[in-house]
């Protein structure tokens, strides 16, 4: 891994240049008291004052709604128009935190564990992630409890750590290298800075080892009912999560033509598993809460060797009834 230095001004000029050359740039943009990733046309729009954006950056590779193919019906016959990979532009995501960058690994695990998912992979292929280490955190952050850290390089193509007057740039992947090499003049030599001094201090809230030991054998535990008593089943936690990948397949019909769409869905919704017969394997909210936690911390590690949580804390910030996942995981780890 190569280390370099980039000043704030050079960084902004570099992003401008990349934008001018045709890459679409996604970056955090503030609106009211919320900050979210938006496609920008000018670096003036970028805001880095937030601790965490409301939404994760997963939509770059797994859009909230995307067209899988189109169809046209004529006299009882049908023609299909396949998913068009050529329409996906080169994309640079700037300003995600390491917990978001790490989220692309579980997503990739889900979309590739058996059959490769073309739309996801094609979008990922054209996406470069420029992450920024966290210099501040809040009570919802728990990346250090799930083997992450505010300066974790996993998942990023380039990781920038804000240091004096600029950034320490760690060029992690070939994709990152290609992007940095495109305009190497914006970068300076490695200033030999210890980035740890600049990183937020995120306290470890629970022992991951204890959690792993216990959670796999807890299917029948009364803890799920107790923890989910106030869960509304609104799905907000899943929609803001960087690793949740449950989806629905829907039709967008316009007369004789239309599109087949993939849309985000959530295992917390009461109808998610409802059979046509009316039988529902997860008919109460506690079963759905159990599924959420077991899927992330037991089933995914068992099945695809990756945890479905990066400790970003968004689910807890978004929860309208203040359910705090870190508190619940701490409780489970200490059982």
């Amino acid at each position: 891994m190569e280390k370099k230095y980039i000043s704030h001004n050079s960084l902004m000029n570099w992003l401008t240049k990349l934008n001018d050359e045709g890459s679409q740039i996604y970056a955090p943009v503030a609106k009211g008291d919320k900050t979210d990733y938006k496609q920008i046309t000018s670096v003036e729009e970028i805001s880095m004052d937030h601790i965490q954006t409301t939404q994760s950056a997963k939509a770059v590779a797994f859009p909230r709604t995307e067209k899988l193919f189109s169809y046209k019906k004529e006299n009882g016959d049908v023609t299909l128009q396949n998913f068009e990979t050529t329409s996906i532009p080169e994309t640079v995501v700037f300003g995600i935190h390491p917990c978001d960058a790490a989220g692309f690994k579980p997503l990739s695990g889900i979309f590739n564990w058996d059959t490769p998912d073309l739309p996801f992979n094609e979008r990922m292929k054209r996406t470069t992630l420029i992450a920024v280490s966290c210099t501040q955190c809040d009570e919802f952050c728990f990346c250090t409890s799930v083997n992450g850290s505010p300066g974790n390089t996993a998942g990023s193509d380039i990781l920038l750590t804000p240091v004096k007057d600029g950034y320490l740039a760690e060029i992690i992947t070939e994709k990152g290298e290609n992007l940095a090499d495109k305009h190497s003049t914006f970068f300076e030599a490695d200033p030999n800075i210890n980035k740890e001094e600049y990183l937020a201090k995120v306290p470890v809230q629970f022992s991951l080892e204890e959690l792993n030991k216990k959670i796999s054998n807890m299917f029948e535990s009364p803890v799920w009912k107790q923890q989910s008593e106030r869960c509304l089943g609104c799905g907000a936690c899943a929609y803001v999560c960087p690793t949740c990948a449950c989806f629905d397949i829907q039709e967008d019909a316009h007369g004789s033509s239309g599109n087949r769409l993939r849309c985000w869905d959530a295992c917390g919704f009461s109808l998610f598993t409802m059979h046509t017969s009316g039988h529902n394997p997860r008919e109460v909210q506690s079963q759905r809460w159990r599924q959420r936690l077991l899927h992330k911390f037991s089933y995914m590690p068992e099945r695809i060797s990756v945890r479905g949580c990066t400790g970003c804390g968004r689910c807890s910030r978004a929860c309208p009834v203040d359910m705090n996942i870190a508190e619940h995981l701490t409780e489970i780890a200490s059982l």
Partner: protein, 280 residues
């Protein structure tokens, strides 16, 4: 598929033949529009597909025809939701979509030399019909073949003329039953629920595999009868019918423990079923 790299893109299929099996239940015989795709298509008994009514979406059901019958596939479905209702409106010669085959298969090679006991309820005969015809088309591979099939009423029995064909075959033992009140004046079969008729049939567990498909309530009451008759968990098979969308282990809907019914199922032995968390 038109392009193998997009797992969500269906094959286009021509509806060659429609059979009205029972009120609201139809069988479609489907042929691949793309001849090459049709020639390359292979599946095994137990697998399922995602069937498209373009404009309404996809629905999941088994491939109801046997892999021994080449050149077409069949599906049997009941009109229950918007997709199946839209499919039911299609006519012979028209086009629909199919993705598959998905899922695992019945271990028919392992069953060679064994007796087969099929126990089905209602609209769950179609997944079993695939296995039944597969076994009957390779009859020399198996011992006794017994079929117990029950439905709510005489009208609700599907594949009526195939039931007649199986009944007339000397190498098949068939018992049909309808729920009390579902019989007609000329009904010659049994009257009663599947588990009690099974008990009355008293099949021998000796070298026999029991394949059970039906509504959860039927399966729940059939398993104890099989156990009472001496069947071991290793020799009992069923299919899980969890709700699915993608069919390829991604959408998360059919997840039971670390298993995906669409990938690891839909066929499970009772041993495998017992190892799953009870969430199906």
């Amino acid at each position: 598929m038109m392009d193998n790299s997009n797992i969500y893109l269906p094959h286009l299929m021509t509806i060659e033949k429609i059979t009205q099996e029972a009120p609201g239940v139809k069988t479609f015989r489907l042929k691949f529009k793309d001849e090459e795709a049709g020639n390359n298509f292979e599946f095994k008994a137990g697998q399922f597909g995602e069937y498209s009514a373009f404009g309404e979406g996809e629905s999941t059901f088994c491939i109801a025809s046997s892999p021994t019958r080449k050149g077409y596939i069949e599906c049997t479905f009941r009109e229950t939701g918007k997709v199946t209702s839209a499919l039911a409106k299609l006519e012979e010669g028209q086009t629909m979509g199919f993705r598959g085959p998905f899922g695992n298969t019945f271990p028919m090679d392992e069953w060679k030399g064994k007796n087969l006991l099929f126990i089905a309820g209602g609209i769950a005969l179609p997944p079993m019909r695939c296995v039944i015809w597969n076994a009957l088309d390779t009859r020399e591979n198996f011992g006794d073949v017994s079929i117990l099939y029950g439905a709510k009423s005489v009208a609700d029995l599907v594949y009526k003329h195939e039931l007649k064909e199986w009944d007339e075959r000397p190498d098949v033992r068939l018992a049909t039953t309808v729920d009390p009140g579902g019989e007609t004046s000329d009904w010659k079969g049994e009257v009663g629920f599947v588990p009690s008729v099974l008990e009355k049939m008293n099949p021998s567990p000796e070298n026999t595999v029991a394949i059970v498909c039906g509504p959860p309530i039927m399966i729940k009451f059939t398993f104890p009868v099989l156990e009472k008759l001496g069947f071991t968990d290793e020799n009992i098979y069923t299919t899980l019918e969890n709700r699915m969308k993608c069919g390829v282990g991604k959408c998360g809907r059919c997840n039971v423990g670390s298993q995906y019914v669409c990938k690891d199922g839909p066929v499970f032995s009772k041993v495998e079923l017992e190892a799953l968390p009870a969430e199906y």
